[in-house]
Symmetry: C2
Subunit: 414 residues, 2 copies
């Protein structure tokens, strides 16, 4: 397997001013290109130290990807360091200079003199035009080893990576294909999910990882093969075994989200949705409306943070009196009131205790989720870890997944 | 200045499965303890490579902080690597073993045999009890150099860092005090804010950094001095100069948030709040209710994602007819209707186009924010970058900051 390293350059990283999301992005992307990342290093804006890191990385690995240090200021030293490691002279590339000047001209500005630096090049490096900014990338080769230098601004870095660098790396180091498959579950903790598929851990191909995420526990399979088709064949039986073992805990795959899955089902059935929420405080509506085009099926919501607000939105005060505002009965009544008031086919009601204080004698983390539809309603009660942000997020995810379950059930019946 | 390095251990980092937020947290914290971070390295679960990285780090720097690799499995190799670098034998610490067994017993479980590993220790290491999990931290010294080993789970890592490690480091390497001051602005972009304080960049003490965040542009001053008092004296005049130069663009400092500031002011004045929102889709209400105790002053909200929902919540349909749903008039009417319906002192109304499509001929990114109070109302119109998540977030922040401005103005008048 071709080996790779990532070198993130910038004193701001060492000062804890920014998170190095570039390294995370590149590590994931290098892996799916079939390269094995051996080390990631963050180093400051110091040409000696950058050279030291580059020399060591070149001694260990075939492909080195650097980010940062390509700006126009005196602190931007990546070009100087790569030139020194390659023992070559920096000169100005006239074409690149013209394209940087054009970038400024198009924005009605003159190019500041400092930016000349961004047109520098060395004989073994190819400068690659950056359509999103003024810092060109470099592709440098020496003795079969490659240094790729990218700007640190994430939007420019990912643009250059996807458009220019990833395709070149794929062509230069064809090797094997890597594909991943993520299986998303909700309802059990990491240890309990892990136990159900315990016998599948520890294999190399496909490799199985387990991760706790805000929308539940994810299982991720990584397969390596000569072709994509073959890699899929490696994954298929293990995926089937996982789905078999976890049954209804599995709610989605890969890029699917609870709000996206719920939205797609509602749209597919030509339905509409409205919500009334208390302990989630608007997060349920906000999550639903994160989906572009959700205005086609989402009628709206009510954030009923007081009993009075619940009643004025159509919940029977006698019900609150009899069972308390935090009760399955009120969750169902909220769902029904939302649907009726906003003339929607489906309604969700969420009531509970986000914390930090208890409410009506119920401890933080207690939540009731009501669902209402044309002809019926039901509620589920849950208990989350009593941490405010956690309760809001988990209750939102679960409400959406309960809705998905309801729509799928109704399809099975009809 | 005492030098430090961070070593993040775990193959999942190199596979791009998780972002190394631990390194970011530690870099920032080490800096405020007065230590200079020279390098951050991510390395996989391979004892040879971990040893190589530790040896090099020890040759360069005084304090090495590792995270990860302290779990009970065969992949958890940090203890083995540190023992090898120190050339010492691993033995079981009986007290630590008893406390790990107690951790499981309290949870009604027997300790799995693999966890014995977590009670290992070497002569030069002090094992530090972890009240949040089963992995003790290690503090190891050799020739005036320190290796601190922490678990990789962020909640356990930060707990041990704050409770145990930071105080020990402070005592062991007293040196100078570093303090930071963050000045938060909203309303202008990074370049424009930077230009207004341009002459303050480039100094070493206090050092000025500028960062684009979801709630606006932050300016961060870092000062170093022998005592905290002296460090504050270094910051004070520069902070005053920045506040002078930026005037009303400054809305807060350090840990302040728009929802926290708004909440504190509302509470202080004994007022209450209600909202009606369309393009923010519930994010405004959700952000307000992120504040613990917000139920004391937040009456609730309406997410009116259709014209019908706006009308049923009290907006005059003639106003929508005359000006369109995305108009300053309707934003004010929404604010007023929210306040009236939910019997609150203050109302916010937000209407706009989150995108991706235009609405009523208005392009994505167009937003009107209405404010209503006892005796009046007003609206501001804004235009954000037309990206859905960005529009939701920016409009939410701005609505809260407009409310803060209104409450402060009314105080000045009275």
């Amino acid at each position: 397997m071709t080996t790779a390293e990532i070198v993130s350059i910038g004193t701001e990283l060492l000062m804890g001013e920014i998170v190095d999301t570039n390294a995370y992005y590149l590590a994931s992307s290098l892996r799916s290109l079939g390269l094995e990342v051996r080390q990631v290093t963050q180093v400051g804006d110091d040409v000696e130290r950058i050279c030291e890191v580059l020399e060591r990385s070149l001694a260990r690995s075939t492909v080195i990807v650097t980010t940062g240090g390509l700006g126009p200021t005196a602190d931007d030293l990546t070009r100087e360091a790569v030139a020194r490691v390659m023992a070559q002279e920096l000169t100005v590339d006239r074409d690149m200079l013209a394209s940087i000047e054009a970038y400024f001209r198009e924005r009605g500005m003159a190019m500041p003199p400092a930016n000349v630096k961004q047109a520098w090049v060395i004989p073994s490096a190819t400068a690659i035009h950056n359509a999103r900014g003024t810092a060109p990338a470099w592709w440098t080769e020496r003795g079969g080893r490659v240094i790729v230098s990218l700007p640190g601004v994430p939007a420019e870095m990912t643009y250059l990576w996807e458009k220019e660098i990833a395709p070149r790396l794929k062509a230069r180091f064809p090797g094997s294909v890597i594909i991943t498959r993520t299986i998303k579950t909700f309802g059990l903790g990491e240890a309990a999910v892990g136990e159900k598929v315990q016998h599948l851990f520890g294999r190399q191909n496909p490799y199985l990882g387990i991760y706790a995420k805000p929308d539940g526990i994810h299982l991720r399979l990584i397969a390596k093969a000569a072709t994509e088709e073959e890699a899929r064949r490696v994954i298929a039986p293990v995926e089937a075994e996982i789905c078999q073992a976890l049954g209804p805990l599995v709610w989605g795959f890969d890029e699917e989200t609870p709000e996206g899955s719920a939205g797609a089902l509602i749209r597919e059935r030509g339905l509409s949705l409205a919500v009334m929420e208390s302990c989630t405080g608007g997060l349920l509506a906000s999550t639903i409306t994160d989906v572009p085009g959700s205005s086609d099926y989402f009628r709206g919501g009510v954030v009923s943070y007081t009993n009075e607000a619940k009643v004025s939105a159509g919940v029977d005060p006698a019900l609150i009196e009899a069972h308390g505002a935090v009760s399955p009965q009120v969750a169902e009544a909220m769902a029904e009131a939302a649907r009726r008031r906003l003339k929607a086919d489906l309604g969700i009601g969420v009531t509970g205790v986000a914390g930090p204080s208890s409410l009506e004698g119920k401890p933080p983390g207690t939540v009731y989720i009501g669902l209402a539809w044309d002809g019926g309603s039901r509620a589920v009660s849950v208990r989350y870890l009593p941490q405010r942000a956690f309760v809001k997020r988990r209750a939102t995810v679960q409400a959406l997944l309960e809705l998905v379950r309801l729509i799928k059930e109704s399809a099975n019946k009809s």
